[in-house]
């Protein structure tokens, strides 16, 4: 009998070890996958994959930066002089326009004549810039010159201030506005939620007696079960107009509205974790404090809060984690404008909202797709830094105070 028990114990032990190992390996693999998919971005050309830019061979410009290309195709730069060329108007040619010049039949079977026709068009106009598919590019033709292509650089990605992933022909992947937006909205949310959450936790564990918490705590925990899209909808319909009217601003979808919603969403987590930590303060410690003549308030902030400091910091970390990773609610109330915020009353775009909104239509393995994975990596690094900091802080507290 003993032997069988021992075998069963061994077996269960084995299962537990294996499941632990599998979980860790899966986590590692997910992180690896994230970084692997993301790292390809820096090998992608800055012009859309499979396409090249061509100019007339008499043009003295040899290469253009990504923002310059965008401004040219948006007609914001209209003269070659502005990018170091001759004083000439820029003529833009997108490859689809070839079908306005020639019919499908004239382009021959399987478009074999297409390169020739492209070359004709480009050679005819000295001030042209053409955006052509590589496969049909007029290589080696007279009067035609390809612009040098760069790959997307690390500094363009991490230092770029514009996020326009669908800009043709050269998309802009600048993450600065997204990172700043995410951090702004999350920290603002914690600043709003922390005093409120701690207050409620103190009330529930110390002041409310026995009967009220029995009813209040489940109600608060129920809040955590509301789907985030419902919070988002509530935010859009109720909070956005309130914020707009109260502060007299032109748009109600702002970073502040987002952080209000996130604060409401983070509250249940903060309250229940912090309250549990406070409740776990041993009765003897409270009684000792009261016996020494301390008032109830003195007991709370000299004994209970220091004792539960690590629990409270865990509550803060979980709250920030919820806020940073929250997608749907933020997507609906922050306006999703990818600009660097000057104040909290401006629309912002967060990293999770960007990934959720754009991954669906980004062609697999394109630069856009890879840039979204890199955004995921950034999000991962941010949350990792936060949890490590919290760990360090709570350890320090424990050794100093108790």
């Amino acid at each position: 009998m003993k032997k069988i028990n021992r075998i069963i114990e061994r077996f269960i032990e084995g299962i537990l070890t294996v499941s632990g190992a599998i979980t860790s390996i899966v986590m590692l693999l997910i992180v690896l996958f994230l970084f692997k998919e993301g790292s390809g971005l820096f090998h992608s050309p800055s012009v859309e994959k499979g396409y090249l830019l061509y100019v007339n061979s008499k043009n003295i410009v040899t290469d253009l930066s990504t923002p310059e290309i965008k401004h040219i195709f948006d007609s914001k730069i209209t003269n070659w002089k502005e990018v170091g060329g001759l004083d000439q108007e820029i003529e833009i040619f997108r490859f689809e326009e070839i079908f306005n010049y020639y019919s499908d039949e004239e382009l021959g079977e399987d478009y074999v004549l297409l390169p020739e026709k492209f070359a004709e068009v480009i050679a005819a106009q000295q001030n042209i810039i053409a955006y052509l598919p590589e496969q049909y590019a007029p290589k080696e033709a007279d009067g035609v010159k390809a612009l040098a292509t760069n790959t997307i650089s690390i500094s363009d990605f991490f230092g770029g201030k514009e996020w326009i992933p669908t800009a043709t022909p050269s998309p802009l992947f600048g993450v600065v506005p997204l990172v700043l937006g995410t951090l702004l909205v999350s920290f603002l949310a914690i600043i709003i939620a922390l005093p409120l959450g701690l207050g409620v936790a103190i009330y529930l564990s110390e002041l409310a007696g026995d009967r009220i918490p029995k009813f209040m705590k489940p109600t608060i925990e129920l809040l955590a079960g509301i789907p985030s899209v419902v919070y988002g909808f509530f935010g859009l319909v109720v909070l956005v107009p309130i914020v707009q009217d109260t502060f007299g601003i032109p748009v109600g979808e702002t970073a502040f509205t987002g952080s209000l919603i996130l604060a409401i969403m983070a509250l249940p987590t903060i309250i229940s974790v912090a309250e549990d930590a406070m409740r776990n303060t041993p009765r003897e410690m409270r009684e000792a404090s009261l016996a020494l003549g301390a008032t109830q308030w003195q007991t709370i902030y000299k004994v209970v809060i220091p004792y539960s400091a690590s629990g409270i910091s865990a509550a803060v970390v979980l709250g920030i984690g919820r806020a940073i990773g929250e997608t749907m609610a933020v997507l609906m109330v922050t306006g999703n404008a990818a600009v660097i915020p000057n104040s909290i009353f401006e629309p912002i775009r967060t990293i999770p909202a960007t990934i959720a909104a754009e991954l669906g239509e980004a062609p697999a393995n394109s630069a856009h797709y890879q840039s979204l994975f890199l955004l995921g990596c950034i999000l991962f690094v941010i949350t990792m830094i936060i949890s490590i900091t919290a760990e360090v802080i709570s350890k320090k507290h424990n050794t100093n105070e108790i």
Binding site: G50, K70, F73, D74, S75, R94, F95, E96, D110, Y111, P133, Q135, E162, I164, P165, T166, A167, T168, P177, L236, V237, V240, P241, Q244, P250, V251, G252, E253, L331, M332, G335, N336, A337, A338, V339, P347, R349, A357, E358, G360, E361, A362, P363
Partner: protein
């Protein structure tokens, strides 16, 4: 006996596959195809039509790999996609089954009720920033756009912005319903939605594509008589070789009954 069973089985299988059709693609066209398929199958009990969404790009790549018979699309087939089909020796046939008109909407209190295409381009590319410049109140213009994944976003960019990029930092909303909601509650807002989403809480703007000579109100009637310019066709694409198989369903969609269903869903019939 065995032989008879086998032959009858294979005949049954053949008729089943002959009448079974897969349609996949644009989410905009999805509700139309679903309604059409429902009533088509009611009239032809032997037929089976399966419909899935996923986006125009998804549908066309499924046509490429041969897993669907018809790709539904809210945009024209791209040059690249056409090339890929050609490389596989396939030819895509195109049928326009309906039209979808986009309306530009503003807050009901806005005094500006007419805009030219050039003005719309200026607003959405960020060159015009105040309603004062368009004869309205001294109020900041807040343009709302759809997210980049939407076919509507692409169409508006091609048709109205003439392929220019949207302004940096434009507000982008995840759904058409959210745009209507936001514009309803923001005084300086402007956005674009499908005609079916128009309601009395927002105001539709008349649009001019001839530099201000004639302004046309977005409506079903004006879209049918082709005076309203911001209209996009909705397409079915199928492979030329499978024409015989898909023709009955497409004929049904284009029949007067099928076109009636299209107006019911809120799109504009072809005929």
């Amino acid at each position: 006996m065995k032989k008879i069973i086998l032959t009858s089985l294979s005949v049954l299988l053949y008729t089943l596959t002959a009448n079974a059709q897969n349609i996949s693609g644009s989410d905009t066209v999805l509700p139309v195809s679903q309604k059409e398929a429902e009533s088509y199958m009611k009239e032809n009990p032997s037929a089976s039509v399966t419909i899935t969404g996923g986006g125009s790009g998804v549908g066309i790549s499924a046509l490429l790999s041969g897993t669907v018979d018809i790709a539904q699309a809210s945009r024209r087939i791209k040059f690249d996609e056409k090339l890929k089909l050609k490389q596989q020796g396939k030819e895509a046939e195109e049928v326009i089954i309906a039209y979808d008109a986009l309306a530009v909407i503003v807050h009901p209190s806005n005094k500006v009720t007419e805009l030219t295409r050039e003005q719309l381009e200026g607003i959405f590319t960020g060159k015009i920033t105040n309603w004062k410049e368009l004869g309205g109140a001294d109020l900041k213009i807040i343009p709302y756009s759809r997210e980049t994944s939407s076919g509507t976003y692409e169409f508006f960019r091609q048709n109205v912005l003439k392929n220019k990029n949207y302004a940096n930092g434009i507000m982008s909303m995840p759904a058409t319903g959210a745009i209507v909601q936001s514009i309803r509650q923001t005084a300086g807002a402007i956005g674009y939605v499908g005609l079916a989403y128009l309601n009395t809480e927002v105001q539709a703007v008349s649009v001019s594509y001839d530099a201000g000579k004639t302004y046309v109100v977005p409506s079903v009637a004006n879209s049918i008589n082709k005076t309203y310019p911001v209209v996009r066709p909705l397409y079915y694409y199928y492979e030329a070789k499978s024409k015989a198989r898909v023709q009955p369903f497409i004929d049904y969609v284009l029949s007067s009954k099928g076109q009636e269903i299209i107006s019911e869903v809120g799109f504009i019939p072809v005929k």
